[in-house]
């Protein structure tokens, strides 16, 4: 494992450079007797306080001694002090940390109390006291620094050990009879190697500061012995007459500390990359053989796609896109295309999406995960995140074009004319503020009202979602999921929107609560006359509430129909298969009906029909070119060239 860690660090230029610097300084210091050009104690009063010369590369100090040589020997003193502190810290922190994290229970609690005490004791005082007692012995002082600092590191190693304890192989080791100590030494310790390296490096950096600081205060080996801190103190007194001296003396400390910190940071990043896709992506990019694709979902990750993807030309817009918006339609979407990734080279997530929404109707947007329904919903609101953008098409909200709208105007439109509630109500509310204040904030975002009026409106809204107005004083963690979803609905209604997008509003809720929420949505819609776009993968919900449905698959709309007609006679093979695979329709004793294969991710969309690979009716014609939407009648459309075949099979 550490071989992998080293390899990963070597891939970071900063890690490599800082590692080399550290090694050079350490090696140089301990090789001082061999490589120092002059005797560090040799005085030459004829060349005092000189800047850099050929003979003395870093100049001379107030007694004519060579600064470079003194720095090299001083390094020995400082770095060995740091080593002593590090070892002292580890001797205490590793056993106690692992013990606390792995064994747990009372041992853990006792150790944590010890840690609390250690962290509260003024370490400086004790270290100074130690220096006084043991006659300026820097060695003992560094031991005390290490011991006193171990408190913080016990905590770090404890959490690392805790996470290792959960691993299955530890359980296996225990079951097979290995003793606790043996497990801790042989299994837990190696796993925290990464954390250990990082902490040791960073601690060394901090300790170097302390060690040189103590030497600066004239503790430690007395003059004329060279110490980094002592040399800085001398340089400070000579600021007026020899300002150069401050540069090499302070500089070496700063460079060493900086290099250690950068190394620690690189180690930390390398250690974390074991668990992130960023690490995987960098690893695979350097290998010649193609990595398996389909690893990441384009919607969430910003990892660029593997090499070798050909740029597929965007398909022509459907004829439908040319059909003007239905008269009186509150929302009219034409040719909507959304992409994610770097500007100009986006990967398309949805394309050629056309539909209308009339005032007062509830339209279902149906599809599996990965179909693009949430992306569509977010796209309507312009909330695609920094990585996504609308790359084509138009969205008319009662005649006003939303695509390309200014941010300020868009902010006014959101909430006031088109609003959204999302899937997870518990994370939709800010945990730090009371529920009532968040609703009031939504109210005041659109109306200039006083606090008192906002509070009254909040109470009204809570009643509208069938909650006791007293709920306003509660925090989000004090209410249930169902209540939170109602609060979210209240927030969405605050601006009196014309369109409400409900993205899987009941998926995260208990079945018993689902019915209530859906009922609430229906009654609110009846009262306010809002249009609702209900995004769902649940046919039952769609059948319950929606009058029309739009079916999406792999980023495209594949069928549009009224719900009644859709259930009676679907006109697209995907819809038909989806309806058939409903577990409620399964026959006992037979395997559950499913659709073989899986939804292709955006960067793997075929040029032809996206569903062809899984379609029982697919033929050679389905593959070479994008399939256009077939307009069947007023309300009906289907993206398939085998509609008649399907009808024949159905009858």
């Amino acid at each position: 494992m550490s071989a992998g860690l080293v390899r990963r660090v070597l891939r970071k230029p900063l890690g490599v450079v800082s590692g080399i610097v550290v090694i050079l300084i350490v090696a140089g210091s301990f090789a001082a007797p061999l490589i120092a050009p002059h005797n560090p104690l040799e005085q030459n009063l004829r060349i005092v306080k000189q800047g850099p010369t050929v003979a003395h590369l870093l100049g001379t100090d107030s007694l004519g001694r060579d600064v470079l040589s003194r720095l090299l020997f001083g390094g020995q003193e400082s770095l060995s002090g740091v080593l002593v502190a590090v070892v002292s810290m580890l001797i205490i922190a590793i056993p106690l940390g692992i013990l606390a994290g792995y064994v747990g229970g009372i041992t853990d609690r006792i150790i944590l109390h010890v840690v609390d005490v250690l962290l509260s004791i003024p370490g400086t005082i004790i270290t100074l006291a130690v220096l006084a007692i043991f006659n300026n012995s820097m060695f003992v002082a560094m031991v005390s620094v290490g011991v006193l600092a171990s408190g913080a590191f016990i905590r770090v190693f404890r959490s690392a050990a805790l996470s290792v304890r959960q691993e299955l192989y530890i359980g296996a080791a225990r079951v097979s009879g290995l003793g606790q100590v043996r497990i801790m030494a042989a299994h837990v310790l190696p796993q925290i190697r990464g954390v250990l390296l990082v902490q040791v490096t960073l601690f060394s950096a901090a300790t170097l500061g302390i060690q040189t600081g103590l030497a600066f205060l004239a503790f430690g080996p007395p003059p004329p012995a060279p110490t980094w801190g002592g040399m800085v103190a001398e340089a400070a007194t000579l600021i007026q007459t020899d300002p150069w001296l401050l540069v090499p003396t302070g500089g070496i400390i700063a460079i060493t500390t900086l290099a250690l910190c950068l190394l620690g940071d690189a180690l930390r990043d390398a250690n974390q990359e074991r668990f992130t896709l960023a690490g995987l992506a960098t690893a695979k990019r350097t290998r010649v053989d193609s990595a398996p694709r389909g690893m990441t979902s384009v919607v969430t990750a910003s990892v660029t796609t593997a090499t070798g993807v050909t740029d597929v030309a965007a398909p022509d817009p459907d004829e439908e896109a040319a059909i003007p918006a239905a008269p009186g339609a509150v929302l009219s979407v034409r040719g909507l295309t959304v992409g994610f990734g770097p500007a100009g080279r986006e990967t398309t997530a949805i394309q050629r999406v056309d539909f209308d929404v009339l005032p007062g109707e509830i339209v279902g947007l149906v599809g599996e995960s990965g179909s693009g329904k949430t992306v569509t919903a977010l796209g309507l609101l312009g909330l695609l995140g920094a990585n996504g953008r609308i790359t084509g098409g138009s969205i008319l909200l009662a005649g006003e074009e939303l695509v390309g709208m200014s941010a300020a105007r868009l902010r006014e439109v959101r909430g006031a004319r088109i609003a959204m509630i999302s899937q997870e109500p518990m994370v939709a509310l800010d945990p730090s503020f009371r529920v009532g204040s968040q609703i009031a904030e939504a109210v005041r975002a659109h109306e200039r009202v006083s606090r008192g009026d906002a509070q009254m409106r909040t109470a009204e809204l809570l009643e509208a979602v069938r909650l006791d107005p007293a709920v306003a004083s509660r925090y989000p963690h004090e209410i249930s999921g169902g209540m939170a979803q109602r609060v979210a609905i209240a927030m969405a209604l605050a601006g009196r929107p014309e369109v409400l997008i409900a993205d899987e509003p009941t998926t995260a809720l208990d079945v018993t609560v689902q019915a209530d929420i859906l009922d609430l949505l229906r009654s609110i819609q009846e009262q306010t006359g809002m249009a609702v776009i209900l995004v769902s993968h649940d046919w039952g919900v769609v059948a319950d509430l929606c009058s029309r449905a739009i079916v999406m698959y792999a980023g495209e709309v594949v069928e549009r129909a009224t719900v009644a007609e859709l259930f009676a006679a679907p006109k697209h093979p995907y819809t038909a298969a989806l309806l058939r695979s409903n577990p409620h329709g399964a026959e006992p004793g037979k395997p559950l009906p499913t659709i073989g294969g899986s939804v292709p991710p955006p960067h793997q969309w075929p040029i032809g029909c996206h569903f062809a690979a899984r379609c029982p009716l697919a033929s050679a014609d389905c593959l070479p070119a994008p399939i256009a939407m077939v307009h069947l009648d007023e309300e009906r459309a289907s993206r398939c060239i085998h509609i008649e075949t399907l009808e024949a099979v159905q009858s």
């Binding site: 006084a132 902010r411 959101r414 904030e441």
Partner: protein, 313 residues
């Protein structure tokens, strides 16, 4: 809430006892004789013995500690072995200096750190990368070295600020501030970068949360979202880090006071260590421990205020 404070106070008593025991017994191992140190090399054995009697140095260690502890409870920290003045008086004379330094530094770290961190999370780009880079620098550079650098730059090369010395607030508020600018800068540099980095990381994490997107969907102003919601939620982890940096600044204060020759507790304790002045070191040790405890208590209380889940109803 009350229970929290009471528990903390009890814990503080325990901690003070433990720290003082540690310091006391360590200091008692000091080679050499405080009495001899005070009276000098030419002192007669008689006078040394008399001073030892006076200071109670002939008593067994345990009773020395017991009498010290008894005194502390009464508010009497004994007298300085060196000067004879009551320790409490010495400490109180110097507390305002160290307190000014610590409070101003804490303010700077909190405000600048939070502000920079938040700004870089929201704006991103160059400021963000710059912060990522210098956060390490802040951690790396020892405060005494920064102090000297600042003196070299701003007190010697360009004479704006005084290089050393401290002016009482009562005498001259302007001068007081001026004399503290460089020390505070040296002390808070590290803390600012650490808090800013933590704040930036937390704020970026919060900005990716669902409720921020919901707030945007509701049409709330971006500025309101950042200053109200992001700040509130991102402050929690930064608060813990702030507590740690403030406690760490106590160590830095000892060095910084020495560089700038500020008449505070830091310089006093350094001198007391060199001259084996046990009562003074103990007294300062108690005060430092108290300070750490108070800081931790304040942080815990603030945490309770900011995080409703922690509060007991």
């Amino acid at each position: 809430m009350v229970r929290l404070i009471v528990t903390r106070l009890l814990l503080s008593v325990v901690l003070i006892v433990i720290s003082s025991i540690a310091i006391f017994f360590l200091m008692s191992l000091v080679p050499g004789d405080p009495a001899r140190t005070i009276l000098g090399a030419n002192a007669t054995p008689d006078s040394i013995e008399r001073l030892r009697q006076q200071l109670g140095l002939n008593q067994p260690l345990l009773s020395q500690y017991a009498s010290w502890l008894g005194g502390v409870v009464r508010g009497d920290f004994g007298e300085s072995v060196f000067s004879g003045d009551p320790v409490v008086k010495l400490i109180l004379a110097r507390v305002p200096v160290t307190l000014s330094l610590m409070l101003l530094s804490t303010l700077v770290i909190a405000v600048l750190g939070t502000g920079l961190g938040l700004l870089s999370a929201v704006r991103g780009g160059a400021l963000g990368r710059f912060l990522d880079a210098i956060s390490l620098v802040g951690l790396a550079l020892p405060s005494y070295w920064v102090a000297i650098l600042l003196v070299a730059l701003f007190a010697v090369a360009i004479r704006i600020f005084p290089a050393t010395g401290y002016i009482q607030f009562a005498d001259n508020p302007g001068g007081w501030l001026l004399s503290l600018i460089l020390p505070v800068a040296a002390l808070s540099l590290g803390g600012v970068t650490i808090v800013a980095k933590q704040m930036r990381d937390s704020a970026m994490d919060v900005l990716a949360r669902d409720y921020i997107r919901v707030l945007r969907a509701t049409g709330v102003r971006e500025r309101s979202i950042v200053l109200k919601h992001v700040l509130r939620n991102a402050s929690l982890p930064s608060l813990t880090v702030l507590g740690l940096t403030v406690v760490g600044a106590l160590t830095g204060a000892v060095f910084v006071e020495n560089v700038f020759v500020l008449p505070g507790l830091g310089t006093m304790v350094t001198q007391a260590t060199t001259s084996h002045d046990l009562p003074v070191v103990l007294g300062v040790g108690v005060f430092f421990t108290l300070f750490v405890i108070i800081v931790n208590l304040v942080i815990d209380l603030l945490y309770g205020v900011l995080n409703p889940k922690v509060r007991v109803r």
